[in-house]
Protein backbone atom coordinates (compact mmCIF):
# COMPACT_ATOMS: atom_id res chain seq x y z
CA UNK A 1 0.00 0.00 0.00
CA UNK A 2 2.78 2.44 0.99
CA UNK A 3 4.81 1.55 -2.11
CA UNK A 4 1.70 2.10 -4.24
CA UNK A 5 1.15 5.56 -2.77
CA UNK A 6 4.83 6.45 -3.34
CA UNK A 7 4.44 5.32 -6.97
CA UNK A 8 1.20 7.31 -7.34
CA UNK A 9 2.91 10.44 -6.05
CA UNK A 10 5.88 9.88 -8.38
CA UNK A 11 3.55 9.49 -11.37
CA UNK A 12 1.50 12.57 -10.40
CA UNK A 13 4.71 14.57 -9.99
CA UNK A 14 6.00 13.37 -13.36
CA UNK A 15 2.73 14.29 -15.13
CA UNK A 16 2.66 17.75 -13.53
CA UNK A 17 6.32 18.39 -14.27
CA UNK A 18 6.02 17.41 -17.95
CA UNK A 19 2.81 19.43 -18.28
CA UNK A 20 4.38 22.51 -16.74
CA UNK A 21 7.29 22.17 -19.19
CA UNK A 22 5.24 21.58 -22.31
CA UNK A 23 1.99 23.35 -21.27
CA UNK A 24 0.24 21.20 -23.89
CA UNK A 25 -3.11 20.67 -22.24
CA UNK A 26 -3.03 23.65 -19.86
CA UNK A 27 -2.75 26.17 -22.68
CA UNK A 28 -5.38 24.44 -24.80
CA UNK A 29 -7.80 24.01 -21.91
CA UNK A 30 -7.41 27.51 -20.53
CA UNK A 31 -7.66 29.31 -23.84
CA UNK A 32 -10.64 27.17 -24.87
CA UNK A 33 -12.46 27.97 -21.59
CA UNK A 34 -11.89 31.69 -21.94
CA UNK A 35 -12.94 31.73 -25.59
CA UNK A 36 -16.18 29.89 -24.80
CA UNK A 37 -16.97 32.29 -21.97
CA UNK A 38 -16.35 35.30 -24.19
CA UNK A 39 -18.38 33.87 -27.07
CA UNK A 40 -21.37 33.03 -24.86
CA UNK A 41 -21.28 36.49 -23.29
CA UNK A 42 -21.75 37.97 -26.79
CA UNK A 43 -24.11 35.30 -28.11
CA UNK A 44 -26.97 35.81 -25.64
CA UNK A 45 -28.67 38.93 -24.46
CA UNK A 46 -30.17 37.63 -21.26
CA UNK A 47 -32.05 39.32 -18.45
CA UNK A 48 -30.86 39.03 -14.85
CA UNK A 49 -33.16 36.10 -13.90
CA UNK A 50 -32.49 34.18 -17.09
CA UNK A 51 -28.76 34.65 -16.64
CA UNK A 52 -28.84 33.27 -13.10
CA UNK A 53 -30.99 30.36 -14.30
CA UNK A 54 -28.36 29.23 -16.82
CA UNK A 55 -25.25 30.32 -14.92
CA UNK A 56 -24.49 26.92 -13.35
CA UNK A 57 -25.02 25.12 -16.64
CA UNK A 58 -22.78 27.55 -18.47
CA UNK A 59 -19.97 27.25 -15.96
CA UNK A 60 -20.05 23.43 -15.91
CA UNK A 61 -20.31 23.22 -19.67
CA UNK A 62 -17.02 25.13 -19.87
CA UNK A 63 -15.44 23.08 -17.08
CA UNK A 64 -16.44 19.75 -18.59
CA UNK A 65 -15.02 20.69 -22.01
CA UNK A 66 -11.83 21.89 -20.35
CA UNK A 67 -11.72 18.62 -18.42
CA UNK A 68 -11.94 16.52 -21.58
CA UNK A 69 -8.97 18.39 -23.04
CA UNK A 70 -6.89 17.75 -19.93
CA UNK A 71 -7.75 14.08 -19.33
CA UNK A 72 -7.28 13.31 -23.02
CA UNK A 73 -3.52 13.82 -22.58
CA UNK A 74 -3.38 11.77 -19.41
CA UNK A 75 -2.44 8.41 -20.95
CA UNK A 76 -1.64 9.80 -24.40
CA UNK A 77 1.51 11.39 -22.97
CA UNK A 78 2.76 7.86 -22.23
CA UNK A 79 2.71 6.88 -25.91
CA UNK A 80 5.93 8.46 -27.22
CA UNK A 81 8.90 6.07 -26.74
CA UNK A 82 6.51 3.34 -25.45
CA UNK A 83 6.64 4.77 -21.93
CA UNK A 84 3.28 3.14 -21.16
CA UNK A 85 4.91 -0.30 -21.47
CA UNK A 86 7.57 0.63 -18.97
CA UNK A 87 4.99 2.05 -16.59
CA UNK A 88 2.74 -1.01 -16.79
CA UNK A 89 5.61 -3.50 -16.50
CA UNK A 90 6.96 -1.68 -13.43
CA UNK A 91 6.05 -2.96 -9.96
CA UNK A 92 3.68 0.01 -9.52
CA UNK A 93 0.20 -1.47 -9.16
CA UNK A 94 -2.46 -0.40 -11.66
CA UNK A 95 -4.40 1.52 -9.02
CA UNK A 96 -1.29 3.58 -8.25
CA UNK A 97 -0.90 4.52 -11.93
CA UNK A 98 -4.58 5.50 -12.10
CA UNK A 99 -4.46 7.41 -8.81
CA UNK A 100 -1.29 9.30 -9.78
CA UNK A 101 -2.72 10.31 -13.13
CA UNK A 102 -6.06 11.31 -11.57
CA UNK A 103 -4.34 13.51 -8.98
CA UNK A 104 -2.34 15.25 -11.74
CA UNK A 105 -5.41 15.75 -13.97
CA UNK A 106 -7.42 16.99 -10.97
CA UNK A 107 -4.81 19.60 -10.01
CA UNK A 108 -4.45 20.81 -13.60
CA UNK A 109 -8.20 21.09 -14.06
CA UNK A 110 -8.71 22.86 -10.73
CA UNK A 111 -6.02 25.35 -11.80
CA UNK A 112 -7.86 26.05 -15.06
CA UNK A 113 -11.17 26.37 -13.20
CA UNK A 114 -9.81 28.77 -10.61
CA UNK A 115 -8.26 30.96 -13.29
CA UNK A 116 -11.48 30.90 -15.34
CA UNK A 117 -13.88 31.61 -12.46
CA UNK A 118 -13.07 35.35 -12.02
CA UNK A 119 -13.47 35.84 -15.78
CA UNK A 120 -16.85 34.12 -15.58
CA UNK A 121 -17.87 36.54 -12.81
CA UNK A 122 -16.60 39.47 -14.83
CA UNK A 123 -18.22 38.58 -18.18
CA UNK A 124 -21.61 37.65 -16.69
CA UNK A 125 -21.66 39.97 -13.68
CA UNK A 126 -22.21 37.11 -11.26
CA UNK A 127 -21.05 37.52 -7.66
CA UNK A 128 -19.70 33.97 -7.25
CA UNK A 129 -17.68 34.90 -4.16
CA UNK A 130 -20.80 35.32 -1.98
CA UNK A 131 -20.88 31.59 -1.31
CA UNK A 132 -17.36 30.71 -2.31
CA UNK A 133 -16.90 28.04 0.40
CA UNK A 134 -19.69 25.81 -0.87
CA UNK A 135 -18.84 26.67 -4.47
CA UNK A 136 -15.25 25.49 -3.99
CA UNK A 137 -16.53 22.29 -2.36
CA UNK A 138 -18.73 21.66 -5.42
CA UNK A 139 -15.85 22.47 -7.77
CA UNK A 140 -13.46 20.11 -5.97
CA UNK A 141 -15.98 17.25 -5.77
CA UNK A 142 -17.18 17.51 -9.36
CA UNK A 143 -13.65 18.03 -10.70
CA UNK A 144 -12.41 14.88 -8.95
CA UNK A 145 -15.30 13.00 -10.60
CA UNK A 146 -14.42 14.38 -14.05
CA UNK A 147 -10.73 13.55 -13.48
CA UNK A 148 -11.22 9.99 -12.27
CA UNK A 149 -13.73 9.00 -14.96
CA UNK A 150 -11.76 10.89 -17.61
CA UNK A 151 -8.46 9.24 -16.74
CA UNK A 152 -10.08 5.79 -16.89
CA UNK A 153 -11.51 6.49 -20.33
CA UNK A 154 -8.21 8.01 -21.38
CA UNK A 155 -6.71 4.57 -20.66
CA UNK A 156 -9.49 2.88 -22.63
CA UNK A 157 -8.98 5.10 -25.68
CA UNK A 158 -5.18 5.45 -25.51
CA UNK A 159 -4.60 3.14 -28.47
CA UNK A 160 -7.66 4.24 -30.45
CA UNK A 161 -6.87 6.18 -33.59
CA UNK A 162 -9.58 8.82 -33.08
CA UNK A 163 -9.13 9.06 -29.33
CA UNK A 164 -9.72 12.84 -29.22
CA UNK A 165 -13.17 12.16 -30.61
CA UNK A 166 -13.86 8.91 -28.78
CA UNK A 167 -13.03 10.18 -25.30
CA UNK A 168 -15.82 12.82 -25.09
CA UNK A 169 -18.29 10.38 -26.68
CA UNK A 170 -17.60 7.87 -23.88
CA UNK A 171 -17.03 10.38 -21.10
CA UNK A 172 -20.00 12.73 -21.15
CA UNK A 173 -22.82 10.16 -20.85
CA UNK A 174 -21.17 8.79 -17.70
CA UNK A 175 -20.74 12.31 -16.32
CA UNK A 176 -24.43 13.26 -16.72
CA UNK A 177 -25.43 12.59 -13.06
CA UNK A 178 -22.35 14.44 -11.82
CA UNK A 179 -22.91 17.41 -14.11
CA UNK A 180 -26.64 17.62 -13.29
CA UNK A 181 -25.81 17.70 -9.58
CA UNK A 182 -23.00 20.23 -9.95
CA UNK A 183 -25.14 22.48 -12.16
CA UNK A 184 -28.05 22.30 -9.71
CA UNK A 185 -25.99 23.32 -6.68
CA UNK A 186 -23.98 25.95 -8.57
CA UNK A 187 -27.11 27.60 -10.00
CA UNK A 188 -28.68 27.61 -6.54
CA UNK A 189 -25.53 29.18 -5.04
CA UNK A 190 -25.38 31.91 -7.68
CA UNK A 191 -29.12 32.65 -7.31
CA UNK A 192 -28.79 32.80 -3.51
CA UNK A 193 -32.31 31.39 -3.34
CA UNK A 194 -32.73 29.50 -0.02
CA UNK A 195 -35.56 27.37 -1.41
CA UNK A 196 -33.47 26.32 -4.39
CA UNK A 197 -30.46 25.68 -2.16
CA UNK A 198 -32.34 23.34 0.15
CA UNK A 199 -33.81 21.56 -2.88
CA UNK A 200 -30.29 20.93 -4.16
CA UNK A 201 -28.83 19.81 -0.83
CA UNK A 202 -29.05 16.21 -1.95
CA UNK A 203 -26.98 17.05 -5.07
CA UNK A 204 -23.90 17.63 -2.97
CA UNK A 205 -24.33 14.19 -1.41
CA UNK A 206 -24.78 12.74 -4.88
CA UNK A 207 -21.43 14.23 -5.92
CA UNK A 208 -19.76 12.52 -2.96
CA UNK A 209 -21.41 9.18 -3.79
CA UNK A 210 -20.43 9.55 -7.47
CA UNK A 211 -16.81 10.25 -6.54
CA UNK A 212 -16.55 7.31 -4.14
CA UNK A 213 -18.25 4.92 -6.56
CA UNK A 214 -16.25 5.84 -9.67
CA UNK A 215 -12.94 6.17 -7.82
CA UNK A 216 -13.34 2.63 -6.44
CA UNK A 217 -14.39 1.31 -9.83
CA UNK A 218 -11.55 3.05 -11.70
CA UNK A 219 -8.83 1.92 -9.28
CA UNK A 220 -10.14 -1.65 -9.44
CA UNK A 221 -10.66 -1.79 -13.21
CA UNK A 222 -7.52 -0.08 -14.49
CA UNK A 223 -5.35 -3.23 -14.67
CA UNK A 224 -8.02 -4.97 -16.76
CA UNK A 225 -7.96 -1.95 -19.09
CA UNK A 226 -4.17 -1.63 -19.38
CA UNK A 227 -3.16 -5.29 -19.56
CA UNK A 228 -5.07 -7.14 -22.29
Amino acid sequence: MKDGLVAALAIAGKDLRTELRTKESLTASLSFSLVILVLFSFAFDLGRDELYAISGGLLWLVYSFAGALIVNRSFARELPNDCLDVLVSSPAPGWAICLGKTVAAFLLLVTVELITLPFFGLFYNIAWWHSSGTLFAVILLATWGIAVVGVSFSAVTVNVRLRELMLPVLLYPILIPLLVSAIGVTTALFSEDPQMLSANGVSLQLLIVFDIMYTSLALYMIEFILIV
Binding site: V6, A10, R17, D82, D85, V88, S89, S90, I227, V228
Partner: protein, 226 residues
Amino acid sequence: MRAVAADRVWKYFGDYPALRGASLEVEKGACLALLGRNGAGKTTLLRILANLSKPTKGQVTTPDRRKVGYLGHGIGVYDDLSALENLKLFGRLLGVQNPHSTAIQALERVDLARVKDGLAREFSRGMRQRLAVARAFLHEPELLLLDEPFTSLDDRAVAVLQSLLRDARNNGATIVMSTHQIREAMELASDVALLERGKIVFAGPQSPEMLQDPGWLYRTHGEPQA
Protein backbone atom coordinates in the same frame (compact mmCIF):
# COMPACT_ATOMS: atom_id res chain seq x y z
CA MET B 1 16.07 -23.86 -10.61
CA ARG B 2 13.69 -22.25 -13.07
CA ALA B 3 13.59 -18.46 -13.36
CA VAL B 4 11.01 -18.22 -16.13
CA ALA B 5 8.48 -20.69 -17.50
CA ALA B 6 5.80 -20.52 -20.14
CA ASP B 7 3.44 -23.46 -20.26
CA ARG B 8 1.43 -24.03 -23.46
CA VAL B 9 0.81 -20.29 -23.96
CA TRP B 10 -1.68 -19.21 -26.61
CA LYS B 11 -2.33 -15.62 -27.57
CA TYR B 12 -4.99 -14.56 -30.05
CA PHE B 13 -5.29 -11.14 -31.67
CA GLY B 14 -8.82 -11.36 -33.00
CA ASP B 15 -8.86 -14.66 -34.87
CA TYR B 16 -5.11 -14.70 -35.43
CA PRO B 17 -3.07 -16.90 -33.08
CA ALA B 18 0.21 -15.05 -32.47
CA LEU B 19 1.29 -17.80 -30.06
CA ARG B 20 0.20 -21.41 -30.48
CA GLY B 21 0.97 -23.35 -27.33
CA ALA B 22 4.47 -21.97 -26.80
CA SER B 23 6.28 -23.67 -23.91
CA LEU B 24 9.60 -22.54 -22.53
CA GLU B 25 11.73 -22.95 -19.42
CA VAL B 26 14.74 -20.83 -18.55
CA GLU B 27 17.06 -21.82 -15.73
CA LYS B 28 18.21 -19.24 -13.21
CA GLY B 29 21.40 -17.53 -14.40
CA ALA B 30 20.95 -18.63 -18.02
CA CYS B 31 20.96 -16.31 -21.02
CA LEU B 32 18.38 -17.34 -23.58
CA ALA B 33 18.43 -16.00 -27.11
CA LEU B 34 14.90 -16.14 -28.46
CA LEU B 35 15.24 -16.40 -32.22
CA GLY B 36 12.66 -16.32 -34.94
CA ARG B 37 11.67 -14.54 -38.12
CA ASN B 38 9.45 -11.45 -38.18
CA GLY B 39 5.96 -12.30 -36.95
CA ALA B 40 7.07 -15.51 -35.24
CA GLY B 41 5.70 -14.28 -31.88
CA LYS B 42 8.89 -13.24 -30.08
CA THR B 43 7.61 -9.83 -29.00
CA THR B 44 4.23 -11.27 -27.99
CA LEU B 45 5.91 -13.89 -25.79
CA LEU B 46 8.22 -11.31 -24.21
CA ARG B 47 5.30 -8.94 -23.56
CA ILE B 48 3.45 -11.73 -21.79
CA LEU B 49 6.54 -12.51 -19.69
CA ALA B 50 6.84 -8.79 -18.88
CA ASN B 51 3.22 -8.66 -17.70
CA LEU B 52 2.27 -6.29 -20.51
CA SER B 53 -0.17 -8.72 -22.03
CA LYS B 54 -2.24 -11.64 -20.78
CA PRO B 55 -2.11 -15.05 -22.44
CA THR B 56 -5.41 -16.22 -23.93
CA LYS B 57 -4.60 -19.74 -22.69
CA GLY B 58 -1.73 -21.26 -20.76
CA GLN B 59 0.37 -20.02 -17.85
CA VAL B 60 3.59 -18.12 -17.29
CA THR B 61 5.78 -18.07 -14.21
CA THR B 62 8.09 -15.10 -13.67
CA PRO B 63 9.74 -13.53 -10.61
CA ASP B 64 8.15 -10.64 -8.74
CA ARG B 65 7.85 -7.57 -10.97
CA ARG B 66 10.27 -5.71 -8.70
CA LYS B 67 13.01 -8.07 -9.90
CA VAL B 68 12.32 -7.80 -13.62
CA GLY B 69 13.93 -5.36 -16.03
CA TYR B 70 12.32 -4.79 -19.43
CA LEU B 71 13.76 -3.17 -22.53
CA GLY B 72 11.25 -3.14 -25.36
CA HIS B 73 11.20 -1.69 -28.86
CA GLY B 74 10.71 1.87 -27.58
CA ILE B 75 13.33 3.45 -25.35
CA GLY B 76 10.80 3.98 -22.56
CA VAL B 77 12.08 7.31 -21.28
CA TYR B 78 10.26 10.63 -21.07
CA ASP B 79 11.47 13.26 -23.54
CA ASP B 80 10.49 16.18 -21.32
CA LEU B 81 12.33 14.96 -18.25
CA SER B 82 16.06 15.18 -17.72
CA ALA B 83 18.16 12.02 -17.70
CA LEU B 84 18.40 12.21 -13.91
CA GLU B 85 14.67 12.90 -13.47
CA ASN B 86 13.85 9.93 -15.69
CA LEU B 87 15.98 7.52 -13.69
CA LYS B 88 14.83 8.91 -10.34
CA LEU B 89 11.23 8.43 -11.41
CA PHE B 90 11.83 4.82 -12.44
CA GLY B 91 13.86 4.28 -9.27
CA ARG B 92 10.82 5.30 -7.22
CA LEU B 93 8.50 3.10 -9.29
CA LEU B 94 10.90 0.17 -8.92
CA GLY B 95 11.18 0.71 -5.17
CA VAL B 96 14.97 1.24 -5.07
CA GLN B 97 16.28 2.41 -1.68
CA ASN B 98 17.94 5.67 -2.71
CA PRO B 99 16.64 6.75 -6.13
CA HIS B 100 18.96 9.77 -6.45
CA SER B 101 22.30 8.07 -5.83
CA THR B 102 21.18 4.93 -7.72
CA ALA B 103 20.29 7.14 -10.71
CA ILE B 104 23.64 8.93 -10.59
CA GLN B 105 25.51 5.60 -10.48
CA ALA B 106 23.46 4.27 -13.39
CA LEU B 107 24.22 7.39 -15.43
CA GLU B 108 27.93 6.98 -14.72
CA ARG B 109 27.79 3.37 -15.94
CA VAL B 110 26.43 4.47 -19.32
CA ASP B 111 28.64 7.56 -19.49
CA LEU B 112 25.82 10.10 -19.24
CA ALA B 113 26.61 11.59 -15.84
CA ARG B 114 27.99 14.80 -17.35
CA VAL B 115 24.65 15.49 -19.08
CA LYS B 116 22.43 14.32 -16.21
CA ASP B 117 20.39 17.54 -16.20
CA GLY B 118 19.84 17.64 -19.96
CA LEU B 119 16.35 16.82 -21.24
CA ALA B 120 16.09 13.44 -22.95
CA ARG B 121 14.64 15.05 -26.07
CA GLU B 122 17.84 17.08 -26.50
CA PHE B 123 19.98 13.93 -26.54
CA SER B 124 21.32 12.23 -29.64
CA ARG B 125 19.81 8.88 -30.58
CA GLY B 126 22.79 6.98 -29.14
CA MET B 127 22.57 8.86 -25.83
CA ARG B 128 18.84 8.17 -25.58
CA GLN B 129 19.51 4.48 -26.18
CA ARG B 130 22.14 4.44 -23.43
CA LEU B 131 19.67 6.16 -21.12
CA ALA B 132 17.14 3.42 -21.93
CA VAL B 133 19.74 0.77 -21.10
CA ALA B 134 20.49 2.53 -17.79
CA ARG B 135 16.78 2.55 -17.03
CA ALA B 136 16.38 -1.19 -17.67
CA PHE B 137 19.37 -2.08 -15.46
CA LEU B 138 18.66 0.53 -12.76
CA HIS B 139 17.48 -1.87 -10.04
CA GLU B 140 19.91 -4.68 -10.89
CA PRO B 141 17.08 -7.01 -11.88
CA GLU B 142 17.18 -10.79 -11.44
CA LEU B 143 15.43 -11.25 -14.78
CA LEU B 144 16.09 -9.15 -17.87
CA LEU B 145 13.61 -9.25 -20.73
CA LEU B 146 15.10 -7.62 -23.80
CA ASP B 147 13.21 -7.27 -27.06
CA GLU B 148 15.72 -6.98 -29.92
CA PRO B 149 18.10 -5.01 -27.70
CA PHE B 150 20.86 -4.56 -30.31
CA THR B 151 18.60 -3.31 -33.10
CA SER B 152 19.52 0.21 -34.23
CA LEU B 153 22.01 0.75 -31.39
CA ASP B 154 25.18 2.63 -32.23
CA ASP B 155 28.53 0.95 -31.54
CA ARG B 156 28.98 2.72 -28.21
CA ALA B 157 25.53 1.69 -26.99
CA VAL B 158 26.17 -1.91 -28.14
CA ALA B 159 29.41 -1.94 -26.12
CA VAL B 160 27.64 -0.51 -23.04
CA LEU B 161 24.82 -3.02 -23.35
CA GLN B 162 27.14 -5.98 -23.82
CA SER B 163 29.22 -4.93 -20.83
CA LEU B 164 26.12 -4.51 -18.63
CA LEU B 165 24.75 -7.87 -19.80
CA ARG B 166 28.06 -9.58 -18.96
CA ASP B 167 28.06 -8.01 -15.51
CA ALA B 168 24.44 -9.04 -14.98
CA ARG B 169 25.25 -12.62 -15.97
CA ASN B 170 28.26 -12.68 -13.66
CA ASN B 171 25.94 -11.55 -10.86
CA GLY B 172 23.58 -14.44 -11.56
CA ALA B 173 20.85 -12.62 -13.47
CA THR B 174 18.69 -14.50 -15.96
CA ILE B 175 18.38 -12.97 -19.43
CA VAL B 176 15.79 -13.60 -22.10
CA MET B 177 16.39 -11.63 -25.28
CA SER B 178 14.69 -11.78 -28.62
CA THR B 179 16.94 -10.97 -31.51
CA HIS B 180 17.66 -11.16 -35.22
CA GLN B 181 21.35 -10.47 -34.67
CA ILE B 182 22.45 -14.04 -34.06
CA ARG B 183 26.20 -13.34 -33.87
CA GLU B 184 25.83 -10.64 -31.16
CA ALA B 185 23.35 -12.78 -29.25
CA MET B 186 25.58 -15.86 -29.39
CA GLU B 187 28.41 -13.97 -27.70
CA LEU B 188 26.27 -13.90 -24.56
CA ALA B 189 23.69 -16.67 -24.92
CA SER B 190 23.99 -19.94 -23.04
CA ASP B 191 20.72 -21.25 -24.50
CA VAL B 192 18.74 -20.79 -27.65
CA ALA B 193 15.04 -21.12 -28.47
CA LEU B 194 13.62 -20.92 -31.97
CA LEU B 195 10.09 -19.62 -32.34
CA GLU B 196 8.24 -20.29 -35.59
CA ARG B 197 4.66 -19.23 -36.25
CA GLY B 198 3.87 -19.05 -32.55
CA LYS B 199 5.48 -22.34 -31.53
CA ILE B 200 8.81 -23.11 -29.90
CA VAL B 201 10.31 -25.58 -32.38
CA PHE B 202 13.71 -25.82 -30.72
CA ALA B 203 15.02 -25.07 -27.23
CA GLY B 204 18.42 -26.13 -25.99
CA PRO B 205 21.95 -25.10 -25.18
CA GLN B 206 24.03 -23.12 -27.64
CA SER B 207 26.20 -25.27 -29.91
CA PRO B 208 29.27 -24.49 -32.09
CA GLU B 209 27.24 -24.94 -35.30
CA MET B 210 25.02 -22.00 -34.34
CA LEU B 211 28.04 -19.72 -33.97
CA GLN B 212 29.72 -20.86 -37.18
CA ASP B 213 26.64 -20.73 -39.38
CA PRO B 214 23.79 -18.36 -38.41
CA GLY B 215 21.39 -20.16 -40.80
CA TRP B 216 22.05 -23.62 -39.41
CA LEU B 217 19.40 -23.46 -36.68
CA TYR B 218 16.66 -22.39 -39.11
CA ARG B 219 17.63 -25.07 -41.66
CA THR B 220 17.87 -27.84 -39.08
CA HIS B 221 14.90 -27.11 -36.81
CA GLY B 222 12.79 -24.53 -38.59
CA GLU B 223 9.74 -25.24 -40.70
CA PRO B 224 10.35 -25.14 -44.44
CA GLN B 225 9.46 -21.76 -45.91
CA ALA B 226 6.90 -21.53 -48.70
